[in-house]
């Protein structure tokens, strides 16, 4: 299920597509980073690093290990962004 904003999702999908070198249109939410896209746990780390730099958010090392699918990655990043915005607004 897609729970992330289109813009964030689009950027995460673009980052995944760039790392695995396929067209973004061929990346779908249910694809598994490891089995379907050929990334291992270190590849996931690389993905989060790319996202961390592009979206200017801090991501923990452990977070990379729990991400299985493209949707997981999108939801994870969206969650971090929402958390950051809440903190910035003092909520």
């Amino acid at each position: 299920m897609n729970t992330s904003e289109p813009s964030t999702r689009g950027r995460v999908v673009a980052a995944i597509a760039a790392i695995v070198e396929i067209e973004p249109s061929r990346v779908s939410g249910e694809q598994r980073l490891r089995e379907d896209l050929g990334m291992d746990s270190l590849g996931s780390l690389e993905l989060l690093s790319t996202i961390s730099e592009e979206l200017k958010i801090d991501l923990e090392m452990e977070d990379a290990m729990g991400i299985v699918t493209v949707d997981d990655a999108c939801a994870f990043v969206e969650g971090h962004r929402a958390e950051g915005e809440r903190r910035a607004s003092g909520a």
Partner: protein, 516 residues
């Protein structure tokens, strides 16, 4: 003992699961056999003599790691490593040919092959009638497997393979290729699949032998696949999981290759020890000078550590072998080259001439830092894996035989890892040299630990102590370099931009996502 009876004795010992008897029976005969090999002539001619290949077949060298039920000797990895080590003391080309067959050339079939594939091919591979080869690298896809263009697609009765593989060891005389393919139809867009392709399949074209710097007698060719039909039962493991399967195969291959490094270095040390005691300058043997002694002690220390490290890694269960074999590969390939370089140096101008033998050893060692995973790439991946896993519990600092200096170094590495994780987070994957420093520190510490484990059983305890001290010190150098590595990376980027004549973005990505 005649060769046939040696093979019988080895089979009996394997059946009784008595590895000591296996090693004793086989290694004694292998030592006698290698003494008949003329490695220099093979190197000059660029091929093995028929006598060598026939001898290898009758001795069972093609059967080493193939299960007994398929006509093999069914040896465990440590014993197979001891055989490759022995072969490499005389002819590295030959050791690589046998090691490649025992590792990359047959391991996938043994571990992942269908029953029909195993029944059909393994007996012929055990007898040496059919030699195994492994085809993964392409002209445009070395460590970067995303660039792979050899494609497997569905076809009549199975699959069809198109593409071209480069640097295929044993390829010129192989009967069966294990091929890593890109398979977008299986396992998604980035799917890869391992398949076996008989060399006599229609559409397989073998290129000419490459002219190489070293291991010149070994076969290295390009293999082209043009619409080659691959039967369904020739897929190894699951379609789409080729990279994962290749990791398992490479774990064996890298360990066997590391054992060959030990053999070559051992031979370089032996010939140099004899030379420095006979060669006289300024009225005394050159081995008596402190500067020469430093080289000799360093060579002996390196050989001891390589041997201990490979033995330790080879004894690990499959679950650990994949993670440890790259350390053994990187460590032994670098140290063997260093030992051979020291051997050439101590031989003086004579070492530069081929008859001495050390020049060939140096040439033969050079490729091991490149193939089966380029060391630079493996170190980045090993460093990233350690950062991702966190902590140093795997280094067993609490073991009874760990020295105080070792424990202190592990503690320092632990601190460096914590600093890296806190300072860079996931962005550390953009800092290749930091990852390499961490990997090197871990590698030297693992080697030191392997030495201390065997030290108690050795007579040369002083050499073992010298070796562990040296390895711990080398680890410390790399731990100390972690915090300043970023500044150096950026300085080097400016320097190289000036050399390139224009600004080039520094790319760190790509090494982690798919490379085996």
């Amino acid at each position: 003992m005649r060769k046939a009876s040696v093979v019988r004795a080895v089979r009996d010992a394997v059946a009784k699961r008595d590895d000591g008897d296996v090693a004793e029976a086989l290694l004694a005969e292998v030592s006698r056999f290698v003494s008949t090999i003329d490695g220099r002539t093979a190197d000059r001619d660029g091929r093995f003599s028929p006598h060598v290949l026939d001898g290898a077949r009758s001795l069972g060298l093609f059967a080493l790691t193939i299960p007994a039920e398929h006509g093999g000797l069914g040896l465990a990895l440590p014993t197979a490593c001891a055989v490759i080590d022995t072969l490499a003391t005389v002819d590295r080309s030959f050791a690589i040919a046998i090691g490649l067959h025992a590792g990359l050339g047959t391991r996938g079939i043994v571990d992942l092959g269908s029953p029909s594939l195993r029944d059909r091919w393994l007996p012929r591979m055990a007898s040496g009638e059919c030699v195994g080869a492994f085809a993964a690298t392409e002209a445009g896809a070395g460590s970067d497997l995303t660039a792979m263009r050899t494609v497997l697609r569905e076809g009549p009765g199975g699959f069809v393979l198109d593409g071209e593989k480069s640097f295929v060891t044993n390829g010129g005389f192989a009967g069966l290729f294990t091929v890593l393919t890109s398979s977008p139809s299986f396992g998604g867009q980035r799917g890869h699949t391992l398949v076996c392709v008989p060399a006599d399949s229609p559409g397989v074209e073998i290129g000419r032998e490459e002219d190489k710097l070293g291991i010149r007698a070994s076969s290295t060719v390009t293999v082209r696949f043009d619409g080659v039909r691959v039967p369904a039962d020739h897929v190894l493991g699951q379609p789409g999981r080729g990279i994962e399967h290749a990791h398992g195969v490479l774990a064996w291959g890298r360990t066997l290759m590391a054992s060959g490094c030990v053999g070559t270095a051992r031979a370089a040390l032996a010939v140099t020890l004899a030379y420095v005691q006979s060669r006289r300058q300024f009225g005394r043997p050159i081995g008596s000078f402190a500067a020469s002694r430093e080289h000799i002690a360093g060579m002996a220390s390196r050989v001891l550590a390589m041997d201990a490290f490979v033995r330790h890694v080879a004894e690990q269960p499959p679950s650990e072998l994949g993670a440890l074999s790259p350390f053994a590969k990187v460590y032994c390939s670098e140290e063997a080259f260093a030992v051979c370089d020291q051997a050439v140096q101590l031989h003086g101008a004579l070492g530069f001439l081929e008859p001495t033998g050390v020049a060939r050893m140096l040439r033969d060692c050079r490729i091991t830092r490149i193939f089966e995973g380029a060391n630079d790439v493996l170190l980045v991946r090993l460093g990233a894996a350690r950062v991702a896993a966190g902590g140093t519990s795997a280094l067993d600092a609490d073991g009874n035989d760990a020295t105080e200096a070792y424990r202190a170094a592990v503690k320092r590495l632990d601190g460096a890892l914590a600093w890296v994780r806190a300072h860079y987070g996931v962005r550390v994957v953009r800092r290749q040299t930091i990852l390499q420093h961490l990997a090197r520190a871990e590698m030297y510490l693992r080697a030191a630990r392997a030495v201390s484990r065997v030290a108690a059983t050795r007579q040369d305890a002083e050499l073992a102590a010298f070796t562990t001290d040296d390895l711990v010190a080398r680890a410390g150098t790399h731990i100390g370099a972690v915090t300043s590595a970023e500044a150096r990376e950026e300085r080097v980027a400016r320097l190289t931009d000036a050399l390139y004549g224009h600004d080039v973005p520094t790319h760190n990505e790509g090494l982690l996502s798919v490379s085996p």
